[in-house]
């Protein structure tokens, strides 16, 4: 159930004292994670935030990924190393160099991920000592994977891990945060591993396809982090060549599992909401409409209040850039049809939203386009977590 589920991987999570001491309890958590690919292959692929303001570790990892080859990934919580200028980039470079030293590889074979507050330099000496300690702790087995998965948590309350074994090979992974290259609540970092034999092109194609259908369709608050990163490392240690479609399918399954974990643990969540749009002119229109509904503060507060206020859903979809015709628009909430031809049908109170899962289904009645976006409600807890003074 982790990055160490596939053969050929070791991991570690240690406490380096990077987290802000003023945070109390969370400061005593581990904050440096290391994932190492012992091969025989070291194929890698990555997808990154689309934010134009990119953190130093993103700029670094994008650069080293050009070789499509990674020996290791080092991650830290306690600081995003974003908006830190050339000195911040130097810190990332030094971190990769330190990992290269302890593993006996080149810095260009080391991916780096960071998460935490934007705009502050990392305590680099502590981080480098943490890398040394992590190298000593490296181990295979589930516990080691869990220690790594735990070391990168920030406002997360539980670690998010997944693994699927099939066809003679396995895909594993962990994730922190919630959101993705387009949307992001806090930074999302994901490390995926596999012991399948895959080509660099296959790894890249499968990762793009899998993230597009999973993390890219998780939208907590529409914000986009400077640090979002998803890395895939393939060791080939199973000795089995993966068939392209099967690999994409299993990778998508693991990503979907992790995405649901991120949704369930999102900041302030009280409702897990799936917004499905059908009958759109095309899939792109469906995605645009679903995302607009998922981001709408009035929809999200209504659902927090367990209110089947379908009028706000109709208003949100009408305000989207998707083509909408009121005459063919219907809205169903938790299986109860509430709106047909953009007008009320039945008794809205029959839609029971008191539970933690809400399914919003909008049929545009215009074509075959279809998409689902996962989101959460807008609650008091969300406001609490995000209005707490940052330092």
């Amino acid at each position: 159930m982790s990055v160490t589920a596939p053969q050929g991987f070791r991991a570690a999570g240690v406490r380096a004292g990077i987290r802000n001491q003023s945070l109390g309890a969370t400061a005593s958590r581990p904050d440096v994670a290391l994932v190492v690919n012992d091969g025989p292959q070291q194929v890698a692929a990555g997808v990154f935030t689309r934010n134009q303001v990119k953190a130093a570790p993103v700029l670094w990892s994008q650069q080293v990924l050009r070789e499509q080859n990674l020996r290791a990934v080092v991650l830290n919580a306690g600081g995003a190393n974003a908006c830190t200028g050339p000195d911040g980039f130097g810190d990332t470079h030094r971190t990769a160099e330190k990992v290269a030293d302890v593993l006996g590889c080149g810095a260009i074979e080391v991916g780096v991920c960071s998460t935490g507050l934007i705009g502050e330099r990392l305590p680099i000496e502590r981080l480098l000592k943490g890398v040394e300690a992590a190298a000593v702790e490296l181990a295979d087995g589930e516990d080691a994977g869990t220690r790594a998965a735990t070391a990168v948590l920030t406002t997360d309350t539980v670690d998010k891990q997944a693994a699927v074994g099939r066809h003679g090979w396995t895909v594993g992974g962990f994730a922190k945060g919630a959101g993705m290259m387009a949307p992001s609540l806090a930074t999302m970092l994901v490390v995926l591993t596999t012991d399948a034999i895959v080509t660099p092109e296959q790894a890249d194609g499968a990762l793009r396809a899998a993230t597009a259908m999973t993390f890219d369709r998780l939208d907590i608050d529409g914000s986009t982090s400077t640090n979002d990163t998803v890395l895939l490392l393939a060791s080939g240690a199973s000795g089995v060549e993966a068939e392209a479609d099967a690999f994409t399918e299993v990778l998508t399954e693991v990503c979907a599992d992790l995405a649901r974990g991120l949704q369930a643990d999102a900041e302030g969540v009280t409702k897990r909401i799936a917004v499905t749009v059908t009958g759109a002119r095309d899939d792109r229109d469906a995605l645009v409409a679903a995302r607009t509904i998922a981001r709408d503060s009035l929809v999200k507060t209504a659902l927090f209040g367990s209110d089947p206020n379908w009028g706000r859903i109709a208003a949100a979809v009408g305000a989207s850039e998707a083509t909408v015709e009121p005459e063919t628009l219907s809205v169903t909430v938790n299986g109860v049809l509430l709106c047909e031809a953009a007008a009320a049908v039945g008794d809205r109170h029959k839609a029971d939203l008191s539970g933690p899962e809400i399914a919003v289904e909008v049929d545009l009645g215009l074509g075959g386009g279809l998409a689902t976006v996962l989101t959460t409600d807008l609650s008091h807890a969300y406001v609490d977590e995000n209005s707490a003074y940052s330092s």
Copy 2:
């Protein structure tokens, strides 16, 4: 200070019992308003929500505005008459017919505006009786204008009115809600009046220019109402022909005054935030960047917490569709430069955000583009107001 400030106008606000009785105190408020243009001219112009799902009164008013001539506007709170199908449109039509009856004009000379819950039919008999009562109460003078301005309030806590007299003519108006054709918190309805002599083309051009720079740049939560409407009625009663630029200028002044009133009374507001973007490639880019910052939940919760968390501002602008270069990006909050070349400068704690006004200034350093968007924070009170069960 109202729609009755210019010569040639009468107004009324009465209680017709349309508001949901379960709302308690607010149910006893007046809920039908009537504004009548006694001429000699009856020139009119309107701008409407861009939502593809338009309320019946919007569809009606867009239709009658083709004649660029209005004798009266009737408005109701207590129901949006949106997503109510052909029957709902029939209700709007009957309302206009009733106004036409009591005033002795054609229904095609009557604009209609509604605000309240989406998806429920109006209690039409009560509304028609309200129109009769309003016709009896019609009067000139400030009190009558205030009664009309008060009758359309929903979650508003105060009436919003403005007037400017200059060049021998006057522009007056009232507004309810917050937001506009693109963005909207709750429905925004605005009625503007003037006794200047203007042509229909001049009225239309001035109204579009004025709203684009004011209500269109007020963004409370990025949502877009099905009902947003701004109507301008010109009586020509001053006998003075308005010069085009002067008219646009005064109209913009009145709209800006009303927009500030909407911002100050937005749902759950504790901070009035002005986001100004300078140095953009062009004005459009500046507006896109400013609007993205103004809509960002992480920025809005940080400012609710009086936290000068400029990293979230930098992340939001980087995620916008405007062109952003980190190397030339700076962020100033309440006059204190916090970020230069996308990196921290100075002591963030010097930016004191404890007061109710916050100025966020972002310089993209790329060109001469400039825009300001007004918004508010994302507070517990906002969640409270919008998660209360709708019925």
